[in-house]
Every structure is written in C-alpha cells, then in structure tokens.
C-alpha cells in the first residue's frame, strides 16, 4: 500500500490518481496522519502543498522516523521537505514557476534514468533548493535546462526520491512512466 500525506494541496488527488494506477493508495491530511496506515505502508509519499517545509513539522517527524526503513517519495513541497530534513536550505527564487512547462535533463549517471535524457514537465514552485547541497547518498539527478535549478534527487541506497516538478500534472509528458520506474526501483 502507498500512503500519501496531503499538505492541503489542490494537486494531491492528481498524485493519488496517478499512484493508484500502480498500487492501492491511502491518503490522509497531514493533520490526520494514521499511525496504523503509516506502519502498513510500503511506500510513503509527501504531497505538494503551499508554504515551506518549516510549516510541516509532523511530516518531518514521519520522514525521520521511517528513513531507510521504507521507500519515500516527495513531490514539490515534499521534495523540499525531505531535503530540508537532510539539512538543506529552501529559498525563494527570483522567478516564480507556477503552471510552467519546462525542459529538464538527467545530469547524473547515478540516476535510474538515462543520463542526458530530457523530459517536458509541469512546475509549480516559488521556492527552490539552495546549492551547493552535499549530503551522502543524495544525488541531484535532474536539472532545468534553462535555469539549472535542481529538479530531482535520488538516494538509491535508502530508496528516497524527490521531484521538484509535478509528475502528475497534465503538463508533464510521460509522468506515469517516471513514477512507474521509481516505484519498481
């Protein structure tokens, strides 16, 4: 079962819809996290949401508790949340990307995806990862072709993955394939 933690977002159910194509999905609001479901879940997903990682301490607790015990995936805010828990700073970017379609590229050979491959993806974020960011086993694997902003990280040792963009958006081409690959990793 995949357990999705919803950060009060208007895109969370697109994520639910997408993951439901591959497995049974349960979804609860971050204020309403169910401990039994958390334990039962094989994968925990942190949804997108408004605000910044500091606003969601309960989610941080969940991450710290299950790190390296379960596969975890973060999307947009969820991506930032995981990195924040790993000590990263999340900062405002000059340009805001809300409803934006961008080309991104796989830049690392440690990625599950082929180095050099490009994707068209949908973005909704005003904040970004402050770089340089160096934490053991965490690799930035995709970047925006234009702005070079970090678009995904992979920790293939602990099975932790994050996307700054939205694989569930209609603006993302082949988003289902991206998720499928991460789920079967």
């Amino acid at each position: 079962m995949i357990y999705i933690i919803d950060h009060n977002d208007s895109f969370t159910h697109n994520v639910v819809h997408q993951f439901s194509l591959f497995d049974k999905v349960e979804c609860d609001n971050y204020n309403n996290i169910d401990k039994t479901k958390l334990k039962k879940a094989s994968i925990i997903v942190f949804s997108p949401g408004p605000g910044k990682p500091k606003d969601y301490p309960i989610t941080s607790n969940v991450y710290n508790k299950f790190k390296s015990k379960k596969k975890m995936i973060g999307i947009c805010l969820g991506f930032q949340q995981i990195l924040f828990c790993e000590g990263a700073k999340i900062i405002e970017q000059r340009k805001t990307f809300h409803g934006f379609q961008s080309n991104i590229k796989v830049i690392s050979d440690k990625s599950l995806f082929k180095k050099g491959k490009t994707f068209k993806v949908g973005r909704y974020h005003s904040l970004k990862l402050k770089e340089p960011f160096k934490v053991k086993n965490f690799d930035i694997t995709m970047r925006c072709l234009e702005s070079k902003v970090a678009m995904s990280f992979e920790n293939n040792k602990d099975k932790i993955y994050g996307f700054q963009f939205h694989p569930e958006s209609f603006l993302t081409v082949n988003g289902n394939l991206l998720i499928k690959k991460i789920l079967s990793a």
Binding site: F11, P50, E92, T96, H98, L127
Partner: protein, 386 residues
C-alpha cells in the same frame, strides 16, 4: 401556444420563476411547491435526502443556488465577519411546471423609466494595487500560486429583471445563463462557465481561465494566438486545469479523469475566453454531497491551492460575496446534476443592484491590467442600466 406571451403574463403576474439556458433555448420553471432556504446545518439534510421516484416527471428536481459562504462552510472554511446584506445563503425551489422557450426571448417593457445609474466600486484602483502587491508577496513565499481578488460594483435601483434578462441574452447568449425572479430578490446572469455536469456516473467540468477583450483586430484565431503566446494567461489556465483534474480525481475512478478539450477559445459579446473540458467516471458510492464538496466553490474563481487561498481571500475581502462565485443549477431526483459558477451576474436585493468580478493575481500579473480586466467583465452588465 405563444410561450413568449405566457412568459410576459407570468412575469406581470408577480409569480416567482426561474429561467435556465438549455441546449436549444431556455427552460422556464415555475409553480413552486417548495422553497428551501439553506443554511450550514440543513444543507446536509437537503443534499442527502432520498427522493421517491415513482413516475419520472420533468419537474422532478430542485433548482436554485448555493451562495459562496455556504460552499465555504461545507468544506470547513470559516468566513470572518464581513459586511453582509443578509441574503439567504442558498435557496432551492421545487417547480411543478416546466416550459421550453426558444432562444429568442423578448419582452416589451411597457413603462420605460429612463434612469441614469451610477455604479460605485468598493475597491478603487489605488487600493486594488495595494492588495495586489500584498498577494504577490504571498505568491513569492509559496503560500498561494494564484489568487482572485473580487471587486464589487453597486447602484441603488429597482430593475425589471425580465427586461434585463431578455436584453442580456440578445447580446450574449451564454451557455450557463439564468435568471431567478422571486418576490424579494432577483438574479440575472450570463455565466459562461459550467462547473458540474453529471449524468449517471459520468461527470464533466469546463473551467475558464483567460480573458481577452474583443475588437476589430482581435478575431477568434487571433485570440487563440494571443492566449498561446501570453505566458501569464497560459500559466493561469494550466493551474486551473490541474486543479480541476484534482477535484474530479477525488470522486472519480483512477485512470478515468481525462482532458477532452485542452485550451480552446470561446467567443462572447465583448470578449474571448480560454476554455478546457475535463471528464471522469464517478467511483461507486459517491453521493451528490461528495461531488459538491469536491468541486465547489469552483477553482477558477478562487485561485490555487483552494483551501489556503480561500483563507487568504476571506481575510482580505470585507464584503460578503453573496451569490458571486457560488453555484446555480439543479439536482434531479434521479441524482443527475448541472451546476454553473455564478459570475457575470446582477443581484438585485433590497433595492440595490450589485455586480462582482474577479481576476487573478499570479507571479507576473500586473495590477493595472487586472483592474481593467475586472471592468471588461462587468461592462456588458453595467450597460444594461443605460
């Protein structure tokens, strides 16, 4: 039978009635046997009520509106104290008579009162810019991705609702237009936006985001180009499409939510709209109340994400939105529903007519442009008072 004469007689008789745009023309509903005034408590009972259908009649339905505040209450969003004219939060009627009308409505107003109506706006240009700046900061900080500020235009006046509606539908035959005439209030609307169309287990929604003024140089194909090249309009639209997909995904079977039309242009009297159409198949055991809670208030008139943006909006807006960005439509006894988003509307209540409009603040929108866009949206309605 001369239905137009029937309509005139009905109007002059002072009886309450409702007109709603149908595929071919309009449907008229009257002879109301029930009138249900909704509040945040009885709405659950109203929506969950089991209806006995022995023989199905074309009047087996409730028709009416949910106001904005009621829809907030339904999803657990509180509205702080606001200036309030105390219009009921929602009203539904059970009609006993339905008449089909052609699309060419006409009404001769016997008494022609020439009145000059001056509309007052509740937020002036300068104040609008200030609010605009504040929300741009919130966007930068990630608290909202898009937010729609509502401005209100008001004037003291009694109006002849049927006369207004006939003239309005002559110049603008909007697919979701309607009017309600009751004893103590009336609503005239040329809403273009369908929020819920539910038949059996199929459901669709048709969000509008993106508006451009029509003129000699701006034809339909040029409008499409304009929208495509205009990054701001495109991004605003994308956001709403993903948001409506989300709202449908709450209540639809996995894999069934699909975009049927993506970013097409629709033409109206004074403007062009950028429109998409999204469909899905409902999960089993989904009740109408679940659908209404998932879809309303419609995202395109709020902003995104819904809950945090509603909270920001409600804190900012000092006057109750009343009907504006609520929903009008019907629920049939067999469970089918059709609802619009109440925009482009005149509410006449207690001798005052009010018209509201909203346009979006996104990261790269411009206060001056949005302020003017609000005016473009209400212009056709204000012109009716001339």
């Amino acid at each position: 039978m001369n239905t137009i004469k029937q309509l005139t007689d009905l109007h002059n008789s002072g009886k309450s009635y409702i007109i709603y745009k149908s595929n071919k023309g309009f449907d008229l509903y009257t002879n109301f046997s029930k009138k249900i005034i909704l509040n945040k408590k009885n709405i659950y009972h109203f929506l969950n009520k089991k209806k006995n259908i022995k023989k199905s009649k074309n009047t087996d339905l409730f028709i009416g509106f949910f106001g904005y505040e009621l829809l907030n209450n339904l999803i657990g969003v509180k509205i702080p104290r606001q200036k309030n004219i105390n219009l009921p939060k929602g009203i539904f009627y059970k009609p006993e008579k339905k008449i089909s009308l052609t699309k060419n409505l006409s009404y001769r107003n016997e008494i022609d009162i020439k009145q000059k109506k001056i509309f007052k706006i509740n937020i002036n240009r300068k104040f609008y810019s200030k609010i605009f700046k504040k929300f741009k900061k919130k966007i930068k900080e990630g608290e909202t991705y898009q937010i729609k500020i509502c401005t209100k235009y008001k004037t003291k006046s009694e109006i002849n609702s049927l006369d207004f509606f006939c003239r309005l539908s002559k110049i603008n035959l909007a697919p979701e237009s309607f009017m309600i005439k009751d004893k103590n209030y009336s609503i005239i609307s040329c809403s273009p936006e369908n929020l819920i169309d539910k038949k059996g287990s199929l459901i669709s929604t048709k969000p509008i985001a993106g508006t451009v003024k029509k003129n000699k140089n701006m034809k339909k194909n040029k409008a499409l180009n304009y929208f495509r090249k205009n990054l701001k309009e495109t991004k605003e639209h994308n956001m709403i499409v993903d948001m409506e997909r989300n709202d449908l995904s709450r209540i639809c079977k996995a894999g069934t939510v699909k975009l049927l039309k993506t970013k097409v242009v629709e033409e109206y009297k004074d403007l062009f709209h950028y429109v998409s159409l999204i469909k899905g198949k409902l999960k089993k055991n989904i009740k109408n109340i679940d659908i209404i809670k998932a879809m309303m208030p419609g995202g395109s008139v709020i902003g995104c994400p819904k809950i945090s943006t509603l909270n920001l909006l409600n804190k900012q807006e000092k006057e109750n939105r009343n009907i504006y960005t609520g929903s009008f439509g019907y629920i049939k006894f067999n469970g089918d529903m059709r609802f619009n988003i109440i925009i482009r509307s005149i509410l006449n209540f207690k001798g005052i007519s009010e018209i509201s409009a909203a346009s979006g603040v996104v990261a790269d929108s411009n206060a001056e442009h949005e302020f003017n866009e609000n005016y473009i949206k209400v212009k056709a309605l204000i012109d009716l008072f001339k």
